[in-house]
Each structure stands twice: as C-alpha cells, then as structure tokens.
C-alpha cells in the first residue's frame, strides 16, 4: 500500500470531524414534506427507521413501529444515524490519487480506471487475484449484487465479509457442536448483551417468557402480532418539526 502524503492535511480535508446538526441547523419551523421508511446503516440487525425529509434534505427521523425487528426501538447509533446523510466528511464524488494527493474526478473517469486496473491485474495474475470484501450492513439485495459482481462479473472465488473478524468463529463452533449455523438456544458469555445488540434484550425477554409459559412459537408469534396491530404505522403526512 502506498503511503499517505501529508497526513495532517488529509485529516483537515477528510476528517474525522464532529458533526451534530441536521442539514440547515436546528430549526423549529421546518416543514416535513416526506417520510421515508428505511433501515439504520450500522450493524447487521438493520433496524427500521423513518427518515424525515424537508426540501429534499434529511432533517430528522421518527420511530418505525411497523418494523418487526425493532418495533420502533433504536440504539444511540440509530438515533443519530440520520446525521450521517449530510455529514461534511462524506465523499460525494470519486477521488483519484495523483502524485500522492487525492483529486476530484468524474464517475466515468474513475470507473474506467478501476476497470482497466482490474483487467490488467486479472490478465497478469489470474481471475482470483481480486477478492471482494462485503459487509453485514448491506441489505439482502445489495449482498446479492455483491455476490453476483464477484462470481459473475469478476469471476473470482474470493468473497468474504466483515464477519470473518467477528462471528464466523461462533458459526463454526455451532456447526461443530450442533450441526447448525444459527443456534436456536441463546448462550450468554458476558454481561454485555445490551451493548453488543441493543434491540436484542427485548427478544430475549420474549423468548424467556415463552419458555416459562411453555408455548414458544405461539407466544412469540402472538407478542409480535399484538405489537404490530396495536400501534398503527405512522402515517406519512406532512408535519412540522
């Protein structure tokens, strides 16, 4: 890997900078004209949330009660996730490194460069000279596209994801112990469940209650259906914020 030229200047230009305000600052008179149901961009739980859009800019969020995974709940990361959208550190256009510095480029220019480099590497060192590293934060559709791109596009057999540094050992252990990838029983190894999977404690409580009452599937199903029907989804009507 080549060295970064001037680290101080790079940090000044690309961050990390702290950012704490929605686009246009905190305002009480903002009119919300669209509510967009989407997912939290962070971990693999992919909690649902509603983004509030004002004048084509993300201005805030609202809980998404109709989403079965988190039923409106969010952790502190999810609550502030909307602040990423207009973050000043975001790269909004491609950058190409020339003479040790990143310079702004057009998408065509950048994609041509990537294609040329990929082709050259693969003709020199074979199809498998390029690997694809994916992420658990991607939606199912994006993960599918990533796999397609790797296998059908690049023709490489090397596809991996961030779980390689995270939960692959748990899956391997479960395979060895139970012959399944996903364990049906939960095992707690430290007292940090809420920190690691913020929306998980509720699921564990539901499970525990159902184990006590002796009807696991029925109770869990009922608890999910009840919470889904009792709280109607937020109507996407314009509101002020």
């Amino acid at each position: 890997m080549s060295k970064i030229g001037d680290l101080k200047r790079m940090v000044e230009e690309f961050g990390p900078h702290l950012h704490d305000e929605p686009h246009g600052g905190w305002r009480a008179d903002r009119v919300i004209d669209r509510v967009v149901p989407t997912h939290c961009p962070y971990c693999a739980v992919q909690c649902g949330l509603n983004l509030l859009v004002s004048d084509n800019h993300v201005a805030g969020f609202e809980p998404r009660y109709d989403f079965p995974v988190n039923e409106g709940r969010l952790c502190p990361k999810g609550v502030t996730a909307y602040l990423q959208v207009h973050h000043p550190d975001r790269l909004l256009h491609p950058l190409i490194k020339r003479n040790g510095n990143f310079e702004r480029a057009s998408w065509d220019e950048a994609l041509d460069l990537v294609t040329a480099e990929f082709r050259e590497l693969q003709s020199k060192y074979g199809k498998d000279s390029i690997g694809v590293y994916s992420g658990s934060s991607l939606t199912t559709e994006k993960t599918y596209l990533m796999g397609k791109f790797a296998r059908a596009g690049l023709g490489t057999r090397y596809v991996d994801y961030n779980g390689r540094l995270c939960m692959v050992s748990a899956a391997a252990g479960n395979m060895k112990a139970f012959g399944i990838v996903q364990a049906s029983r939960m095992k707690r190894s430290s007292g940090r469940t809420a920190s690691s999977g913020p929306v998980r404690p509720k699921i564990i409580r539901v499970r525990r209650a159902s184990l006590k009452s002796g009807s696991i599937t029925r109770t869990a199903k009922r608890s999910f259906t009840r919470s889904n029907t009792s709280r109607p989804p937020k109507s996407p009507t314009p509101s002020t914020r």
């Binding site: 502190p76 973050h87 390689r164 430290s190 920190s195 690691s196």
Partner: protein, 142 residues
C-alpha cells in the same frame, strides 16, 4: 486475569462512522477497562483512575470503569479505537484453525496501578455523572 474485548453501544466497529458524530463521541470518547468491584478493591484502584493493562504482546493505559456485570477474574476493554488506544495491541494474533479469526476474545493480562495523578474522567462520564443537568446548563450557556 483474562482480558476479553467487546463493544460500546455508542460506537460501531472501528469508529469510522460513529467518531464523526458529536453526540456519540461525547457519550463515549475513549476506551476504558471494566473491572469487578472486588478486583478493583484488591488492586487498590478507583473508578475513573487510569491503569496500565499489560499482556505479553503489548500494553495500554485505560481509565477504570467499575461494574458488576464482569466476572472478578475477567477484564473487558472495548475495541473501537486505534493505535495506542487499541485493545488489540494486547490480544493474541493466533488464528482459529477453522474460521481463521484471530483470538480476540481471551488472553492473559494484568492490571498495573499507575502512581500518577490522572484525571478520572471517563469512568464517571460513562455513568452519566459528568453529564448532569448542571453540566448541560453550563454547556448551553457557552
């Protein structure tokens, strides 16, 4: 003692995204070492005091957070930070033969008391004490 690494609810993985959001950085600005009250009493360290955690591979200075959710023979350091603050300076790079994951979750380590006067900040902040209503008022007045 056994050192394990874990997450903080305010940070995500390497912190590339979360350390750009002011609120999240304010809630958890730096890593700490979680120690059981009994162990802390035995070591003679107080909540928020900076201690040196040493393993065969490396060492780091972290503020103590005394909690009951950790076993007395175990310490926990969150892994979201880099360089000198990285918990993985201490962990074992040996790979699991099946999954090829480095052994992040368990290694031998010891806690050493530092005989300096360091600001006991992070431990209190993690409990929300330093973000009391008076602090918020003075923040707003700035």
């Amino acid at each position: 003692m056994i050192l394990t690494t874990g997450r903080v609810v305010y940070q995500y993985l390497s912190g590339n995204q979360t350390r750009r959001i002011g609120f999240l950085v304010q809630q958890c600005p730096e890593p700490y070492v979680e120690i059981h009250p009994d162990t802390a009493a035995r070591l003679g360290v107080a909540d928020g005091e900076r201690v040196k955690v040493v393993s065969r591979r490396g060492e780091g200075v972290f503020p103590v957070l005394i909690v009951r959710t950790v076993r007395p023979d175990t310490i926990v350091i969150p892994y979201h930070w880099g360089e000198q603050l990285a918990a993985n300076q201490l962990t074992n790079p040996a790979l699991d033969p099946t999954s090829k994951i480095p052994e992040y979750k368990a290694c031998a380590a010891r806690v050493e008391k530092l005989h300096t006067r360091e600001l006991p900040l992070a431990g209190r902040r993690r409990r929300g004490e330093s973000r009391s209503s008076t602090d918020r008022l003075s923040d707003a007045g700035r």
